[in-house]
């Protein structure tokens, strides 16, 4: 598969770039391979060292040392590293009384990690899956959820290690998986339709007080209750967006108003200077009070067949939307009536 990923970001209005507390990994990427891992995180404004914690999370996810299968255990390891790091800081820097007490309270971040697989799903779960952490398995892709609410309920309550989506397993199609804690969101757009919103599926769910991944090691049980996972299939020309909460809330609000916010995003990203166009979009939305003044991060991911396959079977990989007839051919009929709101666990 070929993956093109680009990151766009902006600090809060009135803040310096150095004060931006979101994180993303990797940065701009053009990859031709079988596996792509990426993540974004939103460090909590009210904590200190949140930027560093957010970076630690996304880097670990990208490197594969933070995974869906052993998430809680691996977070505990990251927390141990964090404590050692803070101890070192204290040894070498004279922290003020308030900086010490603030550091003791810990850092916090929301996270969404995303993995694209080219190979069809293996028949058996990964070798370490049986030792995996418990979490609430999100239902299968929204199309199945909409078609079979009872099956969706059963899947949402599944505490077993992650298994690939039934359709992906049966059809042997390329697939993706994601994990989230908090209010960073993933969106999947196919053929001009929003196919997936995860973990939050309605704008009213962005209430500003989500459970976050903490540097404090005592919250493992709480953490496992708040981890959400999901998986689905992808097709050539699918676009995925990872967004921190302010942008994600706008995106869903616009979608709920029967607009197509992905077109607005793509219009900004399709210019000669997409970073500036994205920044202008964000500034404009803030001016119109359509976007909370928060750090904003967008990781836009476009996936296609490998270069060899593209050369023989499809038009060259490009950022532009596929032609209308391609979109129609690519979208399976069962996705037509997808209701994003049905996917919440």
């Amino acid at each position: 598969m070929q993956v093109v990923a680009k990151a766009y970001w902006l600090p809060k209005k009135g803040h310096e770039e150095a004060e931006y507390e979101d994180a993303f990994a990797p940065g701009d990427t053009l990859l031709d391979g079988d596996l792509f891992r990426c993540a974004i995180a939103d460090g909590a404004t009210e904590a200190s060292f949140s930027k560093q914690w957010a970076r630690a999370l996304v880097n670990a996810w990208q490197l594969g040392s933070l995974t869906k299968e052993r998430f809680v255990t691996q977070i505990c390891e990251l927390q141990d590293n964090w404590r050692r790091g803070i101890t070192e800081v204290r040894k070498h820097q004279k922290l003020s009384w308030y900086a010490q007490q603030k550091a003791d309270l810990g850092a916090f971040a929301a996270l969404v990690g995303f993995v694209l697989h080219h190979d069809p799903v293996p028949a058996a779960p990964p070798a370490d899956a049986e030792q995996g952490d418990d979490w609430a398995e999100q239902g299968p892709p929204a199309a199945q959820t909409a078609a079979d609410p009872e099956a969706a309920d059963a899947a949402a309550g599944d505490q077993a290690p992650a298994e690939p989506a039934p359709d992906a397993q049966q059809l042997g199609v390329p697939w993706w998986e994601a994990l989230a804690v908090g209010d960073c969101n993933l969106f999947q757009v196919r053929g001009g339709r929003l196919l997936t919103a995860f973990p939050l599926t309605a704008s009213e769910q962005f209430h500003g007080g989500p459970f976050l991944v903490s540097t404090r090691g005592t919250a493992g049980a709480d953490l496992s209750r708040h981890v959400r996972v999901v998986h689905g299939d992808w097709q050539p020309h699918d676009t995925f967006y990872l967004m921190t909460d302010a942008l994600a809330a706008w995106f869903l609000r616009a979608f709920e108003a029967a607009e197509q916010p992905w077109d607005v995003v793509e219009q900004a990203l399709g210019t000669e200077d997409p970073q500036e166009s994205f920044a202008a979009l964000v500034r404009g939305l803030r001016e119109q009070k359509l976007l909370h003044n928060d750090d904003v991060t967008l990781l836009a991911i476009r996936v296609d067949l490998s270069l060899a396959a593209v050369a023989t079977a499809t038009p060259p990989l490009a950022w532009e939307e596929p032609a209308a007839e391609d979109a129609g051919d690519a979208a399976p009929a069962e996705h037509t009536d997808t209701q994003v709101g049905d996917q919440e666990s």
């Binding site: 009135g14 404004t45 007490q101």
Partner: protein, 280 residues
């Protein structure tokens, strides 16, 4: 929509504490077995709150001035109650609070030992306000002084989240009826809404019935309680949310008022009045 302004370094908000420091504050709280003077308990609560506010505004690179803070004491004198380096200052940004405690005391607190019990741990306890109790209760003068301070502050910060005034007293005014001065204080406003006034009345009677955040004057015992109820602001939606989280029953008419409060209730009232919302 009022009370929705962002609180940021460019658009800070303000807390002003009015503390009764009259002679009767030397008496202990009414709660059974409690020997701590009300003045001492209130000073501890304010010092703890200032510490919490500093920590909330602390980032790895330093303090962000989300708040300006003032403390007016009234008793033998009426005026700024900061001690140490901030003596005489009416309103200071929170970074000045962070850098300027009069002293840092070593105290102990009980913490979870991880095995079902508690252990005592040494903690640093910065002091900005000392316990003071003398003289009468010149509430009118205190309210007028608060009005002058906030007239200036609201003029200088027209877009700010409105100042929150938290008034803590155990007695009745000795320099006249403070109602007009309290109403004037509440009439001050920014574009985001009027100044919010909390009245926290302290108990010195172990048999007195406490009343927390009422939404009607029906159960009030006397005219004095009526005055404090009437002059207390209706809680903002965010404050109602915080109060609900703490287990209080609230409605959209609930007032920032507690009657015959013990020290834990004072701390809860301070938390409801000062919990940061919409920090940026």
């Amino acid at each position: 929509m009022p009370y929705a302004a962002e609180i940021s370094r460019a658009n800070p908000s303000c807390f002003l504490f009015l503390i009764d420091q009259s002679a009767s504050m030397e008496d202990p709280f009414g709660t059974e077995g409690n020997t701590k003077a009300k003045a001492e308990g209130v000073a501890d609560a304010i010092n703890r709150l200032l510490q919490d506010l500093v920590i909330k505004c602390a980032k790895s690179e330093g303090i962000r001035d989300y708040y300006h803070i003032g403390i007016i004491g009234y008793g033998g004198d009426v005026g700024p109650a900061f001690c140490g380096a901030l003596t005489g200052q009416e309103i200071v940004p929170v970074s000045k609070i962070a850098e300027g405690p009069a002293r840092v005391e070593e105290r102990t607190k009980k913490v979870d030992d991880g095995a079902g019990g508690f252990v005592e741990q040494d903690v640093k306890f910065p002091i900005w306000v000392d316990s003071v109790a003398n003289g009468g209760t010149p509430m009118c003068e205190a309210m007028q002084q608060a009005g002058q301070i906030l007239e200036k502050w609201t003029a200088e910060h027209p877009k700010a989240f409105p100042p929150v005034v938290i008034h803590i007293t155990d007695g009745e005014s000795t320099d006249g009826d403070p109602q007009d001065a309290m109403e004037h204080l509440k009439e001050l406003k920014t574009k985001d809404g009027n100044v919010l006034l909390f009245n926290v009345h302290l108990s010195d009677n172990p048999n007195a019935e406490s009343m927390s955040f009422p939404d009607s004057p029906n159960q009030l015992p006397d005219q004095y309680a009526q005055l404090l109820f009437d002059t207390s602001s209706v809680l903002t939606p965010f404050m109602r949310k915080v109060a609900t989280e703490m287990g209080f029953q609230v409605s959209d008419r609930t007032r920032g008022f507690v009657l015959n409060a013990d020290l834990p209730l004072v701390v809860q009232a301070l938390e409801i009045g000062t919990r940061p919302s919409n920090l940026r």
